[in-house]
């Protein structure tokens, strides 16, 4: 089993994406989805020498819900800053977020989340991979932003990727 499906989560994801692309359920598309879901992980296995292990699957659902909620809130926050705040009162800031996450996949997810949510864009990783450089659109209190990222996103990712 392990040899045929080196990466079961990827298999499921690929099959699901294929079915969504086809946009209707039939036996033919299901077979094609399974062929793709089997072939792609087998062919790309050399590129995944260490696969991330996912723990705490319900937490993934919670995480996605929180991020979606934050994206909607972020849109309104940024819209208000763009429309209502004069540039002179804007307090952009660079912040360094120390990371407890060590897996590249986990850091990628965190960096992408930061970019998608309230007034922050991740800009760079430190050379040792232990800090993330983040630019804030409007951060009167940069320390609070660091704490928010650590408690809201990183703590949950730690539980997922542990």
């Amino acid at each position: 089993m392990r040899k045929l499906f080196p990466h079961p989560q990827l298999t499921i994801l690929l099959a699901l994406v294929w079915l969504l692309l086809v946009n209707h359920l039939s036996l033919g598309s299901l077979v094609m989805a399974l062929i793709l879901g089997t072939a792609v992980p087998l062919l790309t296995a050399p590129y995944w020498p260490e696969r991330p292990r996912l723990h705490n699957l319900p937490m993934i659902g919670t995480y996605v819900a929180i991020v979606l909620h934050d994206i909607v809130v972020a849109n309104f926050t940024v819209a208000r800053i763009v429309l209502a705040m004069p540039n002179a009162r804007l307090r952009p800031a660079w912040i360094a977020v120390p990371l407890r996450l060590t897996q590249p996949e986990a850091i990628t997810v965190l960096a992408a989340t930061i970019t998608l949510t309230p007034g922050t864009v991740s800009a760079d990783l430190s050379a040792d991979g232990r800090s993330l450089l983040v630019h804030c659109l409007h951060a009167p209190d940069p320390e609070a932003v660091v704490r928010a990222i650590q408690t809201r996103y990183e703590a949950r990712l730690l539980e997922i990727f542990a």
């Binding site: 020498p49 763009v82 540039n87 992408a112 864009v121 050379a127 040792d128």
Partner: protein, 138 residues
């Protein structure tokens, strides 16, 4: 009627956010702050159109359309990558002096031409390239 109002509402919301995002590009003062407006406001701009589209197909055409979910997925995968590339290009170009210092290291862009972060995270590079079989068993 209710469906029409809902669909229209989402389309208008999407249009407003798309406009705000583009206006932010003009209004904000420097390249890094300008990066924020299109990465955020546009997500809901595109999202609104996609929700409206799903509602339209569900209510008017009587079948469920899944392509919108995929577009959302691909958008969430690609938007941070392009934002990161733009941010890095800005960092290389402007070399801001007010960057905070990471503990015990320096930012990767200050070491041009090396991929130190990736090497540290992935551990030492194996001497023999992994074949698929070996890769699976480790």
């Amino acid at each position: 009627m209710v469906w029409d109002l809902l669909i229209t509402g989402f389309l208008v919301l999407a249009g407003v956010f798309g406009l705000v995002g583009s206006f932010g590009l003009v209004k904000l003062p420097d390249p890094m702050t300008r990066l924020h407006a299109p990465t955020k406001a546009t997500t809901l701009g595109v999202g609104g159109v996609l929700i409206a589209s799903m509602l339209f197909f569900a209510a008017k055409m009587g079948h469920f359309s899944a392509h919108e979910l995929l577009i959302t997925l691909f958008l969430f995968l690609t938007a941070p990558v392009s934002a990161l590339f733009l941010a890095k290009a800005n960092l290389h170009h402007d070399r801001p002096q007010n960057l905070p210092h990471p503990e015990g290291s320096e930012w990767a862009i200050l070491r041009i031409g090396t991929d130190t972060a990736a090497e540290t995270l992935a551990g030492p590079v194996p001497e023999q390239p992994l074949t698929p079989r070996e890769g699976r068993e480790t």
